[in-house]
Symmetry: C4
Subunit: 275 residues, 4 copies
Amino acid sequence: MPDHEHGGAAQPWRARMHELIFEADTPSGRIFDLAILVAIGLSVLAVCLESVRSVREAYGAELRVLEWGLTIAFTVEYVARLIAVKRPWMYARSFYGVVDLLAILPTYLSLFVVGTQSLLVVRALRLLRIFRILKLTHYVGEARMLKAALAASSRKITVFLGAVLTCVLIAGALMYLIEGEEHGFTSIPRSIYWAIVTMTTVGYGDIAPQTVVGQFVASVVMILGYGVIAVPTGIVTVAMNDAFKKSTNTQACPACGASSHADDANYCKYCGEKL
Amino acid sequence: MPDHEHGGAAQPWRARMHELIFEADTPSGRIFDLAILVAIGLSVLAVCLESVRSVREAYGAELRVLEWGLTIAFTVEYVARLIAVKRPWMYARSFYGVVDLLAILPTYLSLFVVGTQSLLVVRALRLLRIFRILKLTHYVGEARMLKAALAASSRKITVFLGAVLTCVLIAGALMYLIEGEEHGFTSIPRSIYWAIVTMTTVGYGDIAPQTVVGQFVASVVMILGYGVIAVPTGIVTVAMNDAFKKSTNTQACPACGASSHADDANYCKYCGEKL
Amino acid sequence: MPDHEHGGAAQPWRARMHELIFEADTPSGRIFDLAILVAIGLSVLAVCLESVRSVREAYGAELRVLEWGLTIAFTVEYVARLIAVKRPWMYARSFYGVVDLLAILPTYLSLFVVGTQSLLVVRALRLLRIFRILKLTHYVGEARMLKAALAASSRKITVFLGAVLTCVLIAGALMYLIEGEEHGFTSIPRSIYWAIVTMTTVGYGDIAPQTVVGQFVASVVMILGYGVIAVPTGIVTVAMNDAFKKSTNTQACPACGASSHADDANYCKYCGEKL
Amino acid sequence: MPDHEHGGAAQPWRARMHELIFEADTPSGRIFDLAILVAIGLSVLAVCLESVRSVREAYGAELRVLEWGLTIAFTVEYVARLIAVKRPWMYARSFYGVVDLLAILPTYLSLFVVGTQSLLVVRALRLLRIFRILKLTHYVGEARMLKAALAASSRKITVFLGAVLTCVLIAGALMYLIEGEEHGFTSIPRSIYWAIVTMTTVGYGDIAPQTVVGQFVASVVMILGYGVIAVPTGIVTVAMNDAFKKSTNTQACPACGASSHADDANYCKYCGEKL
């Protein structure tokens, strides 16, 4: 958040506007954020409902009005955000800046192109703002910890994913050879789709092996997929353990040098020396 | 349990009644609890069997009699519980108080409304009382530990669930656009249902992508769902590790009385006294 | 293993027979065990193949001969085992004693009752003997560790399973009410079967919710089942961590009292004192 | 990699050739590896696309030309690798040597035998070379750690897999008896296939139990499969925790040179020297 970017003295109205729109720790700022969140939720709901034929036929006009009202409100909000920050271009290119733009574009586009209406669900992404409101609680800290743990294990996860994708590729090609087009494995890409469905233990059943050899290969893929989930789980668990532990005490005893003391320790647990 | 609420001297009959109904550590109290549990199990079984057409046609009358007998017994028990405690209103609003009421209401309601009979399975909730009987064993301690671990990780789980639900929302809308109504994705809510079925690796196969692009998006959702399960598992495992470790050492310092010492502690970490 | 039960001097033939049949650490004992294992594997394969119609029609007679030959061999082995131990009754009631008997009974029963042939797959249980052969390696130690970890967490697993089964019961009854017989939820037991299929993320798709409310409840059950797997995983992981760690060093430093030294440590890692 | 095998002075051209082909830490070596990787990716894509009927009919000729071009390039590369190393036979028998040969054989075989074309996906295995390019980063270290963790837990995984396969065998035979041929369980091998599909929570739904008893047994198998995944996850997590911890402290004792000290060690655990 570009807190430090606005010279409060020069343009006090912009500072206040910035506080209202971007901060969540003043009462008015929090009310503003809550109003935006409710509007987002309403708009996501409207898009979902409009896609249901019976609802569209009964309340189509009302939903269109609501849609346009919300889009105009979001447009005003977007422009206000651009004005409130000192470097609008930086905001416009930030993650939330792009999402805010994407959240209003489809409605305007729908004037020219048919079907873009459904793209409005991108607005759901804006719901991530909810964590901003909760800023004062510990939620953001939790999210940061989770992110740190995932970042620490991303290299191992990449190695794992590379191995899994190679397996899926080979299994898919094998099944194409074994089962052939007459059993639904009409091409290698489709067989690879089947291998992913099977290895992730989703198992739709829209394509299933019919031959004995095919069922044997499928069994191997299943057991592999079933057991191999242990690998990312292990990686993430260990990374989390480390990420969450990082905040523990690293104090060493002056007498015996032992570390790994509890956070609330006053005396060394091994030799009784004052810490 | 409102153990301290009954003045034993003033109303000894109520104290004894309370002991019989609410305690499980006297022989008669345990027999009472066991009898209730058997009655609950019987009643749940009866509701299940009555829903099977062939059983209902053959033994409908007998099951109705059993049903009414058990309902009257449970009503008597509920009234007795209200009498036995000093503050009936507090009991009536407690979790088990509400469950006890819900367990008898449907039968009486079925005199007026058709179909409420099946609501009787709420009685299954009363089976949770089983852990009360096992109070003297370690089971309640185990449940408390599990609850503590889940409570400690609830904030991280909330963050995780928020991210997953956003993914599901966006994946659902995307698939509605890609596959369209002719392939079963008849509305965004239905597509979201598909996305949940897929991401949780359930995979009924009642709705499945038909187009190449749809199968590609589905593959991404599957791999995401398959890998992302590692996150809550990691969170809960780390929380459990902490929760279980906390209760390991119950040694108290002879000087200052502080507990929660590490397993390998020789000296009190608070006052330096030898343990 | 009743090693101490046979007086070697009195009946040397029984001691040698016992060594041959029950021990796996002499060359002849290992050959005997290997022969038995091959025979078991062959017999399981024969039962499986006989159940395939085309194989049965082509090689039915040969398979029957093989079956009877193996059964007679196993009968001889069973009697030999009874003779070789000092307390035959104790062996007969032990786990492997019962399995050994069950492994020969079905063939004899098939003379009188049709269809019991397939029960012969119980012989697969005898394959567990494979771990006996590997006795000299570390496999048995690994199995003991796994068993210890599972035993340590059995109480927590019981609490967890109780909660899951209550959920499944209630979800099943709810879906019976919501979807009704016309959508395949013909009775509460069948709905409970659906709830188990869904909660364990198996998802056959033979029964699937059709109504919007039903799909919403199903989504909740799926997300619950998907997330809740983290609980037993966490329990088992923590228990394993403890069980595997148990074998580490519990030596404390004579100077500063610090423990948690590595197995191969000669000096205290904190103060440098000789251990 | 046989770095030490070539006498640089005697045959400088071979040394340079070796550096170009086998090393990835000179600019030219990295460009060579990248070119190979692009060629492999292209070739895998071509095989996949050729299996799609519509693509094959439209671009069959072009794909054949590309196929032959790449095969000739890979053949040249294979021969160059054989020449560049001092002991060609050792390379030819190594994992990558075999994969490199398998990657070119199918195209030549397709001149004589129809259908071997699809075997070309073995080329995907060559994509594993990608980790060689990343040699300078930490990826290989990560892969080694993962391999070490899996190797450390392989014995426990074997015990676990043995138990699971025994369960699957018995469950399959039971279902064959219970459901019989009229419900799709036409033979024990097919029932075992069903048991694997169910226990791994894949659940295609192509075979599903119809009888009440069958659905009960299936429920038990599902709950078993659902809960039992905790076991390998626990095993791998604990092993990873150990494997990752081992590599943390790389400090060597100045007196005796011993490494593998704990993170909080102040003194060498072998000789007592200050670290």
